[in-house]
């Protein structure tokens, strides 16, 4: 049981390049999230999804796009990378119980992105 898997784990980009981070979960969870974490800081929510085909903006959505075409996958895209997007990105998922979000997040190992 892999849980939440993020690919790639490391990536170096040049300013202006684009890339996609893939998050895959095998727990049949309804909800998925993308966070970023900068050194010495807490996690900030970028985008999230409450189900297949739905996405919503978090705290810091600018410069990022997401898609949830399949329930198990949540993609985070950077169309034109900027040095300010250098960070560690974490994907998480959570499950539903009784029509409500349990709020119990399961996190991936993180993807370290450097933009030069």
């Amino acid at each position: 049981n892999a849980g939440v898997t993020q690919t790639p784990k490391f990536r170096v980009l040049k300013t202006g390049q684009s890339m996609t981070l893939l998050c895959a979960q095998d727990m049949n969870h309804e909800y998925m999230y993308w966070y970023r974490q900068d050194p010495g800081m807490g996690l900030r929510l970028i985008h999230y999804s409450v189900g297949e085909g739905t996405t919503a903006k978090g705290e810091v959505p600018d410069g990022y796009n997401v898609s949830r075409l399949k329930k198990q996958n949540f993609l985070l895209g950077l169309e034109s990378a900027a040095p300010s997007q250098t960070s560690v990105y974490f994907c998480a998922s959570s499950y539903e119980a009784g029509g409500l979000n349990t709020g119990e997040l399961f996190f991936g190992e993180g993807s370290r992105l450097t933009v030069l």
Binding site: A56, G58, A92, T102, F106, F107, G108, G110
Partner: protein
């Protein structure tokens, strides 16, 4: 979303009980309190969740007073491996609600 306030950092010694308090003065009636633990270079891990009074599991206890304006995470007999950042989150369980992390409390366990 209820705002939370936690100490930035704490130090303790191996074998002691550690209590980390989180203030959430504007907690709403339907809000739950959830704590996460994060080790360096890892994603956070769910520790415990509660609504009122006391909740205990194999890892920690969560104490919530009657007014629910604060909560205390209690870690019994800590070891060096409990050195981590601990996050307190407050929010309801609605489908469309964002799950927001604060800056957390950096706990350092000394030998």
């Amino acid at each position: 979303l209820a705002k939370t306030t936690q100490p930035i950092s704490m130090d303790s010694y191996e074998g002691q009980e550690v209590n980390i308090t989180c203030s959430h003065n504007n907690i709403a009636t339907n809000d739950y309190i959830t704590w996460y633990q994060q080790f360096p270079s890892q994603g956070p891990r769910f520790i415990i969740q509660g609504y009122k009074t006391k909740v205990t599991n194999e890892v920690a206890s969560l104490f919530i007073p009657a007014d629910r304006k604060s909560s205390t995470l209690s870690l019994p007999r800590v070891s060096l491996s409990d050195t981590a950042v601990y996050y307190c989150l407050v929010g309801n369980m609605n489908r469309d609600d964002k799950i927001i992390f604060g800056k957390g409390t950096r706990l350092h366990i000394l030998p």
